[in-house]
């Protein structure tokens, strides 16, 4: 074989090896009709929509984290925020984001399913292309999600999207009363998303949270209803937030952007770094 031919064959082989694997064409008929707008079913301010808020959630906290939660409740009883970070426009993160304060859009593609949340413009990417968790990814509030489509009834169409989420970032709480998550941020969340068997306009998310603040995995099932005339409204939290944290205290801004106390007898912030006029 002439040298030129050998070089050409090698170059062609290198091209074939280096080329990305072509994605299989996306066949929508194999996927359940998740796509569209979904609204929360149930009240705000709870993680488990079937139980009352606050202590009524019966979060299975370890004694150490139950004590942290009690401190949060005590602070909120006087007008504070406890450990709830969202008032500072920090995104809810996972799993709290799935309580859907505002509606969410689901977009299904062959390699990734996107959950686009109107509230705080949070985005989840659930990779369904067979990849593994990366080892060099920075943690994030929404975490890194890997999903797998399951055809449970064997009819040739997927029914369930199983998702595992890792690599999360703090601070996060389960809900606004401040049910805490462990400071180690080693949370793992497993979900099963599926449609109601008799009502394709109802979606369930079975969420199981594994967190060292808990004595056992905590499972809740969130239900959502489909929106038939989708309307989307921008939600940029930094636009007009009137809640301010200075030191360990929170204050509220009045109409002239001056600080107002939120607790009875609350002291003004420490101004010792300002040179006072004599």
């Amino acid at each position: 074989m002439p040298l030129r031919t050998i070089v050409g064959a090698c170059a062609l082989a290198a091209c074939v090896i280096a080329a990305p694997v072509a994605a299989a064409p996306f066949d929508e008929s194999k996927y359940p009709p998740f796509a569209g707008q979904w609204f929360r079913i149930g009240p705000l301010q709870v993680f488990d929509a079937t139980k009352p808020k606050g202590r009524g959630q019966e979060a299975p906290l370890t004694p150490e984290y139950q004590a942290i939660y009690e401190a949060n409740l005590a602070d909120q009883a006087t007008g504070g925020f406890g450990d709830d970070p969202v008032y500072r426009c920090i995104p809810e993160g996972m799993p709290r984001a799935m309580t859907l304060v505002l509606p969410m859009e689901i977009v299904v593609t062959g390699n990734t399913t996107y959950l686009l949340m109107e509230y705080l413009s949070m985005i989840r990417r659930i990779y369904t292309d067979g990849r593994d968790f990366p080892t060099d990814q920075e943690p994030s509030w929404m975490g890194y999600s890997i999903g797998k489509w399951i055809d449970e009834d064997g009819d040739g169409r997927y029914d369930v999207l199983e998702v595992e989420t890792r690599n999360l970032k703090n601070p996060r709480t389960f809900e606004p009363s401040g049910i805490p998550m462990h400071r180690d941020a080693q949370t793992v969340i497993k979900e099963r998303l599926y449609l109601d068997k008799t009502n394709p306009d109802k979606l369930y998310d079975e969420i199981t949270t594994y967190d060292h603040a808990l004595t056992r995995p905590w499972t809740v099932v969130r239900a959502m209803r489909r929106g038939h005339n989708p309307m989307w409204i921008e939600s940029i939290c930094a636009e007009g937030n009137v809640h301010v944290k200075i030191g360990n205290e929170t204050y509220m801004l009045n109409g002239d952007n001056l600080l107002m106390p939120v607790k009875k007898g609350q002291q003004p912030p420490d101004l010792s770094l300002f040179k006072q006029a004599k």
Partner: protein, 128 residues
């Protein structure tokens, strides 16, 4: 007309969940156990995220005017509850139920279904 307005007002109060202002964060700073009714004049209505801000001038018994800062739902919640950036304009006189700050400072939270104009017409008109 008056009776109709009252009926609309009552029905809106009964579906308070539609216009729930909470959600962004804990609303523990506001005293939900002791709501108060304010009658005042709109100085400013900021239709902004994460929560709308209504600044209301309220005249006290001694004639002194106090400026109240009221935090309500995000635009995304208000629009779905029937309230837009144009629902309130400077100078409008309204009656509104408010959960006041625990601190006693003139601030509080409001819900769109608990606000009405002086003639009883509700401020929020839920979308069909």
């Amino acid at each position: 007309m008056r009776l109709q307005s009252l009926a609309i007002w009552a029905s809106l109060v009964s579906v308070a969940a539609i216009g729930d202002a909470r959600g962004h964060h804990s609303f523990a700073m506001f005293d939900t156990e002791h709501p108060i009714e304010l009658t005042g004049t709109v100085k400013e209505f900021r239709f902004v995220n994460p929560h709308s801000i209504l600044i209301l001038q309220v005249k006290g018994a001694n004639g002194e005017v106090t400026e109240w800062v009221l935090e309500g739902g995000a635009p995304a919640m208000l629009v779905r509850a029937g309230m837009t950036a144009k629902s309130l304009k400077v100078g409008d006189e309204i009656i509104i139920m408010v959960n006041p700050l625990h601190s006693g400072a003139p601030g509080g939270s409001y819900q769109p279904d608990r606000a009405k104009f002086k003639d009883g017409t509700p401020v929020a008109v839920p979308r069909e």
